[in-house]
């Protein structure tokens, strides 16, 4: 049996759902279907790692961003718990894992990213968690109630937030990092040290320069052994070892991929009528002038809007300065724009480890392209405007490096 759908969306996260919403606002009658490999309707994935949600300080139902009947009301078919296993770009069909084939006119691939599989021996034991989906979160929420000791492996935003949540739950937390400072090489040493100090003050033990040798226990985790021989007893391990996109089927269908699905600034792939949005999209960023792939909520939401609109016949480029923020242990961390370090970039720092507030402004070809801000989140908006306006830094180096200088003055 073959179903015909005008707008087919693979991925039920914020990118895919927002696209469906936009399409419906433009095309009142065209059939829309969302295929999701999760069972759940749209929920706030970003909320999953936040302590208030985890410790059930806010009602669980706040996680839902759409009501159960939203799909029906908007005449959007929600095919949940199904995976798209192949794409035929010539006949314009996709096949699901239940062998159902759907013919599309326009296709959006908003498949997100998945947690990287952890290869450490014993990583399949109960008590080893990844945090990506609502089901992952539910399992951790249940386990947190009885665990006494936890180990977080890897740095990054989620790990930072998980340490905060676990400490608030009264659990003894050890953070194991392969690097010599937190978030190396994305952050420099002073940034990393401010974060580490905050974690330590909050009671988190940090072990640097260490990798997991193996995970011990029976069916359940009992301890983790590091490559230096050190053994840490624990009932929970949270593996924050990064994410990747599952692209095998997409690649073999003829759609161009790199680390993500390649797209131009209109979020169109190399195949006509196939679009991509969200964490899986490696798109031409018109502000940076290069291809980038971003994994954050606002980016996915905005790309869903643009891709959805373009699927209905618009031709809007995606233009946005991306950002992500977090807070915990008495500090705030914000990333804005492109924060990847590379040889063609220089950095102006403002503030220091000593004053407890430290920003890094990343410069390429005389313009600001990104920033990392520790305890300086209030500068996020201004810096995003400077990036957007292609602000030339020449002659302003002193102001940019003075932590007391108000950056708003530069916009005027």
């Amino acid at each position: 049996m073959q179903e015909n759908i005008k707008y087919l969306i693979v991925g039920g996260g914020v990118a895919g759902t927002t696209a469906a919403e936009i399409i419906r606002s433009v095309d009142k009658d065209g059939s829309i279907a969302i295929v999701s490999d999760e069972l759940y309707r749209l929920y706030s994935r970003i909320m999953l790692s936040k302590p208030n949600f985890f410790l059930e300080k806010i009602p669980f139902d706040n996680v839902w961003l759409k009501t159960d009947d939203w799909y029906k009301k908007n005449n959007i078919e929600f095919i949940n718990g199904k995976k798209a296993v192949s794409i035929d770009v010539t006949n314009k069909t996709i096949t699901l894992n239940d062998d159902k084939t759907i013919k599309y006119e326009k296709l959006l691939l908003a498949i997100g990213s998945s947690t990287r599989a952890w290869e450490a021996p014993g990583a399949n034991k109960k008590g080893v968690f990844y945090l990506r989906t609502l089901d992952d979160a539910k399992k951790i929420i249940a386990e947190v109630k009885t665990a006494k000791e936890a180990v977080c492996v890897g740095g990054g935003f989620v790990s930072f937030e998980m340490c905060d949540m676990l400490k608030m739950a009264g659990i003894d937390v050890t953070l194991v990092l392969r690097e010599s400072h937190y978030w190396e090489p994305l952050l420099d040493e002073p940034s990393g040290r401010i974060i580490e100090e905050a974690l330590k003050k909050g009671g988190v033990k940090i072990i640097l320069n260490s990798e997991t040798k193996e995970i011990l226990g029976g069916e359940k985790v009992e301890s983790i052994v590091l490559n230096n021989g050190r053994t840490i007893p624990c009932q929970i391990i949270i593996a924050g070892i990064g994410v990747c996109c599952q692209l095998e089927q997409i690649k073999s269908s003829g759609i161009q991929t790199n680390r993500g699905i390649l797209a131009n600034e209109y979020l169109e792939t190399n195949i006509t009528d196939i679009y991509t949005a969200g964490d899986c999209a490696e798109f031409k960023d018109v502000i940076l002038g290069e291809s980038v792939q971003l994994g954050n909520w606002v980016n996915a939401q905005m790309q869903g809007k643009i891709a959805g609109g373009n699927m209905t016949g618009k031709k809007d480029p995606f233009k946005m300065v991306s950002f992500y923020t977090t807070q915990g242990f008495g500090i705030t961390i914000a990333f804005v724009g492109d924060v990847r370090p590379s040889a063609d970039r220089s950095i102006i720092t403002r503030g220091s480890f000593e004053i407890g507030s430290y920003g890094r402004i990343i410069i390429k070809d005389g313009e600001i392209i990104g920033a990392t801000l520790i305890n300086r989140t209030q500068e996020l908006w201004t810096i995003s405007k400077l990036i957007e306006k292609d602000f030339k830094i020449a002659g302003h180096e002193t102001e940019l490096s003075n932590p007391d200088c108000k950056l708003q003055e530069l916009i005027k």
């Binding site: 970003i46 806010i58 606002v298 939401q301």
Partner: protein
Amino acid sequence: MKVDNYKLIIFSMDKKVSKIIVDRNLCIGAASCVIAACDVFELDAENKAVIKLKNNIKNSGPAERPNLEGDAVKDADIVAAAQSCPTKAITLIAEDGSNIYP
């Protein structure tokens, strides 16, 4: 280059925004509201969104529309800010007391 993706409103509005409320328990400081409507929202020291009111007052509301510091802000920007919130922490109330968003 003008970045105006935030100005995309999903559904047209027939009511005017009269009151804004931020739920501090839900707010995670994602800052999407600040980027969408910087004259109305900013983050406070706890990294929670606050509404900028006249006389340099800043709080989570409820904030009446005429008391906003940036009273010339368009409703479309305020709605875009609320819609962009990943935890639906911003509630917008119309003049007749009904919810505009969420």
